[in-house]
Symmetry: C2
Subunit: 295 residues, 2 copies
């Protein structure tokens, strides 16, 4: 099977599992919240974080069925952060992935609650999985995900991003935002996957490091696409960073260095995968695929 | 020690533990979020939910030290729900407990993120406690709390409340909101406390039921105080429900029936405590105290 076919299969797998783990739309009066949750979860995400988590668990000999609840939880947390990020009080975005943002469709109140509900649901699913399997490695995976999503991870990055909105930021701040807002949940996906497979401490640490590199590379590639991308393919407005006076890796270091650093960060990650062994080949291919992506 | 002294001691205990479990204000650039989280957590809550959880665990012979992280998590979830409830897109309240609401002090963006951070932190603390203690009863407690906070609990109640804002609602809807928005987290406190103490299935079920009765009684008492309370003591505007055309238990059934039902719901709960045994005396006293409260 080609890499592209594998990727498609894994994406389909995650979509099917998300379908199961999200509340159904017609259950009761809270149906509207299920609808709003599903709207954003099924708005066409790449499923990068869940695919990484499941692939890592699988590559290290873990049980993929134990990995799915955690993978879906990661995607729900990612989605809640996007819904809240898009709110008028935050980035005030009308479009995401080419379609209207959650609050433009459901109203601000429901969008806030749909975000809350996704975050809550993710922990409901993970707690349930831990309780059912009676497996403390799973609890460690949940803890890693909570840490990645929290004030010392993604949320911390969002906060620093928000308080610096419209301001010129220095390199340290830019690196803090990239490392936390984007990379934390990607390194969290690697770490959680490793825990689910009961990997050793050193392997877990190395994978976390690979995740950090891939996460930062992913963000820089996003900044690059904001300059050289194509609206139809990228699904977001091109040139929006420049228009909003947003400091990005590209505006700070230029397009060439941005491209070079994306490549070298990815190489570092791939080197780690090679060290661990051939079972990590899919993750190496995924890393190379990500820096060549145009959406 | 009198009931009041015991209650004061327990409140102080929870406040001290919350102090430990919340991020400190000066750690790094994310300090503002810690400040916003602390502002609302330490805005003078009654700590009802955490006190119930710890008292139940203690009464059933559980380890209170294992109970604290879950108790604090409950209070953080409760606080996040208040912060988001007060937002302009939701209830648009300027005051809560006699002081400015979170978004009036920190801005809407930080208030949204502070709420998110509290919800996330609560699960971080609980996951960590589960991982450290290697104890699956704790995982069950976390699962109970996640369920109580989620779309089939508190969040579901908030949603139905929000979509019916300004509308006349029927009895079924009113009961749904009271049962979920307010009572779910109180019954969740009882259930989680029982799990932490590894109580039997029947005791856990009975305590959950007692919690539902107390939770609904608590909400009705709140509706009563909105009519007959005193602003200084209650800390909220009096008569706001009538002004906002809000259907409450009092507007639907009248003050007398509201008082009667608060009393009979509380009696049902007290009966359950008596059945379980004298170790539950504090919880019986707490129940009687709650229906006589004026704030």
């Amino acid at each position: 099977m080609s890499f592209k076919e594998k990727l498609l299969l894994k994406t389909k797998d995650i979509d099917e599992k998300l379908e199961l783990y999200l509340p159904s739309e017609s259950e009761d009066e809270t149906g509207i919240i299920a609808k709003a949750m599903r709207y954003s979860v099924f708005a066409g995400g790449k499923r990068l974080r869940p695919i990484i988590l499941v692939s890592v668990a699988e590559a290290l000999g873990g049980d993929v069925n134990k990995a799915y609840p955690f993978a879906c939880a990661l995607e729900m947390i990612h989605t809640y952060s996007l819904i809240h990020d898009d709110l008028p009080a935050m980035d005030n975005d009308d479009f995401r992935r080419g379609i209207l943002t959650n609050h433009k469709v459901f109203g601000e109140d429901i969008a806030i609650l749909a975000g809350d509900a996704l975050l809550n649901r993710s922990f409901e699913i993970m707690s349930k999985a831990c309780a059912l399997n009676n497996d403390c490695s799973l609890v460690k995976a949940m803890e890693a995900i909570a840490r990645a999503a929290g004030a010392k991870g993604m949320l911390g990055g969002q906060v620093v991003d928000v308080i610096n909105d419209g301001k010129k930021i220095d390199e340290k701040t830019l690196r803090y935002i990239d490392k936390n807002k984007t990379a934390a949940m990607i390194s969290g996906a690697f770490e959680a996957g490793a825990y689910i497979a009961r990997a050793g401490e050193e392997t877990t640490r190395l994978l976390y490091e690979a995740g950090q590199n891939i996460g930062v590379a992913f963000q820089i590639q996003d900044d690059i696409l904001d300059v050289i991308g194509d609206f139809e393919t990228f699904g977001k407005s091109i040139g929006s960073d420049e228009k909003n006076n947003k400091t990005t890796y590209v505006t700070m270091f230029g397009l060439e260095k941005a491209k070079e650093d994306t490549a070298s960060l990815s190489e570092k990650a791939v080197k780690i995968f090679k060290e661990i062994g051939s079972s990590m080949d899919f993750l190496a291919e995924l890393t190379n695929y990500l820096i060549k992506r145009n959406n």
